[in-house]
């Protein structure tokens, strides 16, 4: 819209300008706090971050020392979640996108995925406690936590992977079949590699969420304080989000500096994965051959 046409009244344009300004204000109210939050945590947490902070375990009831066990714990849980969720999730996506004809069964599967996506994280924690910790006897452990987080992450991975697979042009599949390929050969050699960046983005975002969640690991994996680092998947572990929760609510006299520091490390972890996913996505878009 260049110059205002003489036909429309000036008043209508004034209303529009005011309206757009109001929308912009609302957007700023939404968006600026995000930047402020991130900046605040990084700014006030940075002083706490030192080599010692990142590589030493806590002392004096968390009030001194570092958060290494929590960092490692989060890494373990994220890895465990990935190892468990990705094979199932990607395979399920392949089934939905490549094999299954639309039927009552596929509709049921999709309803199930939507249902899984909607379950509150604390209910996952409850389920994980009941099934993995108690019933199957894993105890409070990385294993139980990873299983719980994996089921929670499944819907995200399936949805994004399916979308990535569907975005690969159908013509590739037809050509591959016409050259004497089986369906699996077609998937393995063409569809999956082309969908991989999209799938990877979804996996990273899913794991980012799993890394930041506290409720599912509250009773399945997390321990307040452990004398040693976990040595097996059946050990309990500290974890960054849980650690932040504990030191900000249950440790009297906890130095604020260290609280911010823990929050900053968690933020960097989560933001880092976000950036990674974005980079994967844009690089894939640039190198696409179709």
């Amino acid at each position: 819209m260049a110059a205002s046409p003489p036909i429309l009244s000036r008043r209508r344009y004034q209303i529009q300008r005011a309206g757009f300004a109001a929308l912009l204000m609302a957007t700023l109210v939404t968006v600026v706090p995000i930047i402020l939050i991130a900046a605040l945590i990084l700014w006030r947490g940075a002083p706490a971050i030192s080599w010692e902070f990142l590589t030493q375990p806590p002392r004096q009831g968390m009030r001194e020392g570092g958060i290494l066990p929590a960092i490692l714990g989060t890494l373990w849980l994220t890895l465990g979640t990935g190892v468990l969720a990705v094979p199932f999730g990607v395979a399920a996506a392949i089934y939905l996108a490549e094999y299954a004809p639309e039927s009552r069964w596929t509709r049921t599967i999709r309803v199930a995925i939507i249902s899984l996506a909607g379950i509150p994280s604390v209910v996952y924690g409850l389920f994980g406690l009941g099934l993995f910790v108690l019933f199957l006897g894993f105890g409070t452990s990385i294993l139980a936590g990873s299983f719980t987080l994996a089921i929670m992450t499944l819907p995200v991975i399936i949805s994004t992977a399916e979308e990535a697979l569907r975005s690969v042009p159908q013509s590739f599949r037809v050509v591959s079949i016409s050259l004497g390929g089986t369906q699996w050969q077609t998937i393995r050699r063409i569809v999956l590699p082309e969908a991989l960046p999209g799938i990877l983005t979804g996996v990273i975002l899913g794991l980012e969420r799993a890394a930041g969640e506290t409720a599912p690991i509250l009773f399945t994996a997390a321990a307040f304080f452990l004398p040693r680092l976990p040595t097996s998947p059946l050990d309990a572990t500290m974890a960054l989000p849980y650690h932040l929760f504990v030191i900000s609510t249950q440790v009297p006299g906890m130095p604020i500096r260290l609280q911010y520091g823990t929050a900053a490390v968690l933020l960097v972890f989560v933001l880092g994965m976000n950036i990674l996913a974005t980079v994967v996505r844009s690089r894939a878009r640039a190198r696409r051959q179709w």
């Binding site: 050259l179 063409i190 082309e194 179709w290």
Partner: protein
């Protein structure tokens, strides 16, 4: 399982030596009801170009895709009849469709190059088949690209992405890709519909060259192309085979009224 068909007093193998494919009573209905076929009877001669022409939606593509079982990818409600190739009815469930598709290759209307290098496109079908001999593949690669009149243009850039080729080059690559599998029959579904006249000419020239060694079935994108290319031509209308005749006759002296109307442009 060799076919035994009694015709008059003799048992004969289908198709006979002069033909590559023999279609008997082929009927097909898609679940959306479109583009079906009704009782098609047709013999495709070897070492010649057979053209299937007719108005859009009449079933030409359906008929073409029945010859390499590519119809399996679509929702078919009903199919009956036989398509005989090398003594076997390829519509039987027991058919090895994978092997069939290597022997009966297809080029599509839009050039679809796979998202890999030119070399990758060429060797894709061979790798699917389990071919590991790189020397053999290299030999087939060069021979096929020459046959598609593309070798000189790409021989120095085989490791470039195939998408970097022009439209006409891509389509010739698709042809070469099929040739690399050393098929017996080549099916082409409006292969030059998106191409400029120069590229169209190159493709048509290649096909003329190739017909001495292969059997070619072509769906043209214009009646003029049909007239240029056809050794034999079959007019397909509303799923039915109206008339089959040598190319020289059918466009100048069609026997059926409907063929004549179509050839003269009264409907299209």
């Amino acid at each position: 399982m060799v076919a035994v068909v009694e015709t008059a007093n003799q048992t004969a193998r289908l198709p006979d030596e002069r033909h590559a494919l023999a279609i008997r009573g082929l009927s097909l209905v898609y679940s959306d009801g479109k583009e079906s076929l009704r009782e098609i009877e047709l013999d495709i001669p070897v070492h010649a170009i057979t053209v299937l022409f007719g108005p859009a939606g009449g079933g030409k593509s359906t008929l073409l895709r029945s010859l390499n079982r590519l119809n399996d990818l679509t929702d078919v409600r009903h199919r009956s009849g036989q398509v005989w190739f090398d003594g076997q009815d390829i519509l039987q469930p027991a058919t090895d469709v994978i092997a069939l598709r290597r022997r009966v290759g297809m080029v599509f209307a839009r050039p679809v190059v796979l998202p890999m290098t030119i070399r990758g496109n060429m060797t894709y079908g061979l790798e699917l088949a389990g071919e590991r001999d790189h020397k053999h593949m290299a030999m087939l690669l060069e021979r096929s690209l020459r046959a598609a009149a593309l070798w000189d243009e790409v021989k120095d850039r085989l490791d470039d992405p195939a998408i970097s080729l022009s439209g006409g080059q891509q389509q010739r690559l698709c042809l070469a890709r099929v040739l690399a599998l050393e098929p017996e029959v080549i099916l082409l579904d409006e292969p030059t519909s998106g191409l400029d006249p120069l590229s169209t000419g190159k493709v048509e020239a290649s096909l003329h060259e190739l017909k001495s060694r292969y059997t070619i079935v072509l769906v043209p994108h214009s009646i003029q192309q049909a007239a240029r290319m056809a050794d034999y031509a079959a007019f397909v209308l509303d799923g039915q085979l109206i008339e089959v005749a040598p190319g020289k006759e059918i466009f100048t002296r069609p026997r059926d009224r409907r063929t004549q109307d179509y050839v003269e442009g009264r409907f299209g």
